[in-house]
């Protein structure tokens, strides 16, 4: 009760332990256990090609999730990322196929476009004063419209693998045989993690999620920080679109549908509170990895692939349930 006044050391979390949240450790343990079990249970799980597939399959979700994490930390949400990804994908695909744009130009256009679309969301939320879920439900439809107009009623077939560096093919393999896309996700996660942990403006996201009014009184530029979170999400959606277009081939008109829910699932499993104020991108990365592991495991075990989503649902409930119990116990103290 009176710990602050006592001079004996506290039996509280040590600063070192704080670098990694409890939920993240739990996720590492769960993923490790799953991998261990699967390496015994199947002959194909712990092979290079399977692990490569898993990592590539979840890379796009992870990258968008890294952007979504600060949005949710500020107490918002962005359900428009699927449509946003579709816009960027079709533009990039047409750019490399029809205009023969080189990879750097394509990437530049992708991130610029994503950034612009993210800013639209951010401005509507912060200046328009509209609830984030309504704004992004609206832009989900509008962005999808924009994407379909650019598709011009045809899927984009025969896209060259200009962006193969990002893709899941041979050209996309990097160091240690790990796909570039996953390296990209890890680097982005590391950068964002540092930013959210060490930069003052990164810490302000947490403050806003805890109490936006108090944050304003403390002199934090709340509106600007909120716009920046949505803009960052857009930026990362641009990069994720490059990954999705990477291998070339086909971009379909329904590209990106349902992506938003996958991303939110990864973020939430990673321990970010949907009520704002708490969460890290490291958790999001692990959440995406867990989802990828489960998907792969179900295929390899020969179970119906539809069961994947049942497991995702269960993981969401377990992750949030554990968190609820912990919060309740903390409050009871």
């Amino acid at each position: 009760m009176t710990g602050l006044v006592q001079t004996v050391p506290l039996r509280r979390r040590r600063p070192i332990a704080r670098a990694v949240e409890g939920q993240e450790l739990a996720l590492v343990v769960v993923i490790a256990a799953l991998w261990l079990a699967l390496s015994f249970g199947t002959s194909t799980f712990l092979t290079g090609s399977n692990l490569r597939n898993i990592l590539f399959a979840v890379a796009a979700t992870a990258i968008i999730g890294i952007g979504m994490t600060p949005v949710i930390v500020t107490g918002g949400i962005d359900v428009s990322v699927g449509s946003m990804a579709a816009v960027v994908m079709v533009v990039v695909a047409k750019l490399v196929r029809d205009a023969g744009a080189p990879a750097p130009l394509a990437v530049l256009v992708a991130v610029a476009l994503g950034l612009a679309l993210g800013c639209v969301n951010g401005l509507l939320v912060s200046l328009g004063g509209i609830h984030p879920i309504i704004v992004t439900f609206g832009t989900l439809n509008v962005f999808r419209f924009v994407a379909l107009r650019i598709f011009e009623n045809k899927q984009v077939a025969g896209v060259p693998d200009t962006l193969g560096w990002f893709g899941g093919g041979q050209a996309g393999l990097g160091l240690l045989g790990v796909p570039h896309a996953w390296w990209l996700a890890m680097v982005l996660a590391a950068l964002t993690w540092c930013y959210m942990r060490y930069w003052a403006t990164g810490r302000h996201w947490y403050a806003i999620g805890n109490d936006a009014d108090a944050a304003r009184l403390a002199g934090i530029h709340v509106r600007q920080r909120i716009v920046s979170a949505y803009a960052l999400t857009g930026f990362f959606v641009g990069l994720a679109a490059c990954v999705l277009v990477g291998s070339g081939g086909l971009v379909q008109q329904n590209a990106g549908t349902g992506l938003e829910l996958q991303v939110i699932a990864a973020v939430v499993i990673g321990g970010t509170s949907i009520l704002g104020g708490r969460g890290t991108v490291l958790g999001t990365l692990l959440g995406a990895l867990l989802v990828g592991t489960v998907t792969s495991a179900i295929t390899l075990l020969g179970w119906p692939s539809e069961l994947t989503e049942l497991f995702i649902g269960a993981f969401i409930l377990v992750a949030v349930g554990v968190d609820l119990v912990r919060e309740r116990r903390r409050r009871a103290r």
Binding site: M1, L10, R12, A200, T201, A207, N210
Partner: protein
């Protein structure tokens, strides 16, 4: 009218100009004259207590000094220079830091981060954690707090600890003037000692402190000077050592005519509500009380005394975890509001906006919401005709100023909103009515009317328990006053008690501080000072 003596502050030298000088501060809110030409001086290095009853104007004065409100007239000078009023930034710039009762902290950030939020020590945008850590550690050590909490999340601290952190945060901004608004209300004795040591340390380095408190017993321990506000005016400003707790209490209440003192007699009968040994861990303990039918009993206590929690336990919102409650002689368990309502208990909550009204809904909706079963057909459909006529009836009976039952409650004045919530408790005449701060934030006219309604109800045979920190109200309404201090019933007064006596009992009237205060329940000791 000001009896401020001409000598400068008790500890300041005679030549130094005051750090803060207020002259002729005047403020009106609508018809309420909150401050009437207040003069106030704060000397360098002194701790200056600002005391007064609820509504005396303390918080308005503080808001004006901290820039949250603009005065209608008057001047604020800092070290002889005039300060622009009505701007929090200019107040902060002048070195005025305010610690409010509710800690404004961010739960997910560490103590160190909270202390520096918005003005982080940065290099190229990066928070210099090491530097912040060092500064916070030395700050906490200077305050006598455990420095190991510097990197603990604020959400992991108790409310009292958070309060100390928000004070540390104010210290860290190196203010010239520090305003503490009832900092001790939720602190334990040990924490208060720590706080006092820290405040003294600051004063030694020249900071001037305005200290607002209801706990008069603290004043001698920490303050150099006391200014007493009553009805928006300064009635006294004297060195603390010249005043006893009793004297301060007398000054706060003045010698007002006891208005509308009712002379009621309550028939001897078995108590409608009786609690024995009631307790809830860390909130209140060993509470014994009895309310007879037709009797109005008041629980009077200062902020944080636990009086409100006792009422809430009796309504089953935050149930008691020890002791027994008997209703009409039968033992009952009150684990939820449903239990309480089943035994004929209803409750008027204190916080009208949060706990009382459905503000976007009509008067009829608000009144009927607790009586849907009664106002229904076959328990399924709302009997809208009866609902409307009940609401219409109350609008007339207790004079709710509104065009009709369809008026939205959010459009009514505070007093009329309170009447609507009260009407909700009266649809089925309660056998036992609990009222928490029934007239808080209500204008004078409505206040009298609400008092009349309460007395009428008691006359009709209901047992009434009022929790209030409004002393005149308590004395006017109650047949018996139980004073709650530190979670225990500390004293009991019958009708006709003097305000100063009750206040002194609640504020812990003895020179030795609060430690020995709890547990006394005789009235003879009180008033000895």
């Amino acid at each position: 009218m000001t009896t401020a003596d001409t000598r400068p502050g008790a500890t300041a030298s005679a030549t130094a100009p005051p750090v803060l000088r207020l002259t002729g501060i005047d403020k009106r809110y609508g018809g309420v004259h909150a401050l009437r030409g207040v003069d106030f001086e704060l000397a360098r290095g002194e701790v200056h207590a600002l005391v007064g009853e609820n509504g005396a104007g303390k918080s308005t004065l503080i808001k004006i000094v901290s820039g949250a409100e603009t005065p209608d007239a008057g001047r604020i000078e800092i070290n002889g220079e005039t300060l622009a009023t009505g701007s929090t930034t200019s107040a902060l710039g002048a070195g005025i830091a305010t610690v409010y009762q509710e800690p404004q902290l961010f739960g997910e950030l560490t103590v160190a981060e909270n202390v520096f939020i918005g003005r982080e020590r940065r290099r190229a945008g990066i928070v210099q954690r090491g530097r912040q850590h060092e500064e916070v550690v030395s700050l906490l050590e200077r305050m006598g707090l455990d420095a190991a909490v510097a990197d603990v999340r604020v959400a992991d601290l108790s409310v009292a600890e958070q309060q100390l952190v928000s004070i540390a945060k104010a210290f860290a901004s190196q203010p010239r003037i520090l305003i503490l608004d009832e900092p001790s209300a939720i602190l334990t004795d040990r924490e208060i000692e720590t706080l006092f040591a820290a405040v003294r340390g600051m004063c030694d380095s020249g900071v001037a402190v305005i200290y607002i408190s209801h706990r008069l017993d603290e004043l001698a321990q920490i303050t150099d000077r006391v200014t007493v506000l009553r009805d928006g005016q300064v009635v006294a400003s004297r060195p603390t050592r010249e005043l006893s707790v009793r004297a301060v209490a007398e000054l706060m209440v003045g010698h007002k005519l006891e208005t509308g003192q009712v002379n009621r007699t309550v028939a001897d009968a078995e108590p409608a509500l009786a609690a024995s040994g009631l307790g809830r861990q860390d909130v209140f303990a060993d509470v014994n009380l009895a309310v007879r039918p037709g009797e109005v009993v008041a629980l009077y206590g200062l902020v944080g005394s636990g009086a409100a929690s006792i009422a809430r336990a009796l309504y089953g919102i935050d149930p008691a975890d020890s002791g027994a409650v008997r209703i009409n002689g039968r033992d009952v368990a009150l684990k939820s509001p449903a239990d309480a309502v089943r035994h004929g208990i209803t409750m008027l909550p204190a916080n009208r906006k949060v706990q009382g009204v459905f503000s976007s809904k009509s008067i009829a909706f608000n009144i009927s919401s607790a009586h849907l079963r009664l106002l229904s057909r076959a328990r399924l459909w709302v009997n809208r005709g009866r609902e409307r006529s009940v609401a219409q009836d109350f609008i007339k009976r207790i004079a709710i100023k509104a065009p009709g039952p369809a008026t939205l409650v959010g459009n009514l004045s505070g007093g009329n909103q309170q009447k609507v919530v009260l009407a909700r408790q009266l649809v089925e005449r309660p056998r036992i009515l609990l009222l928490e701060e029934p007239t808080q934030g209500v204008d004078v006219g409505a206040k009298d009317e609400i008092h009349r309604i309460i007395v009428d109800l008691a006359d009709a045979g209901s047992a009434v328990l009022v929790v209030s920190s409004d002393l005149p109200e308590v004395l006017q309404l109650a047949d018996r006053v139980l004073v709650v201090r530190a979670g225990r019933i500390a004293a009991s007064f019958d009708r006709g008690a003097r305000q100063a006596d009750v206040l002194a009992a609640a504020a812990g009237d003895d020179g030795s501080g609060r430690a020995s205060a709890a547990g006394r329940d005789s009235t003879t000791e009180v008033g000895a000072a």
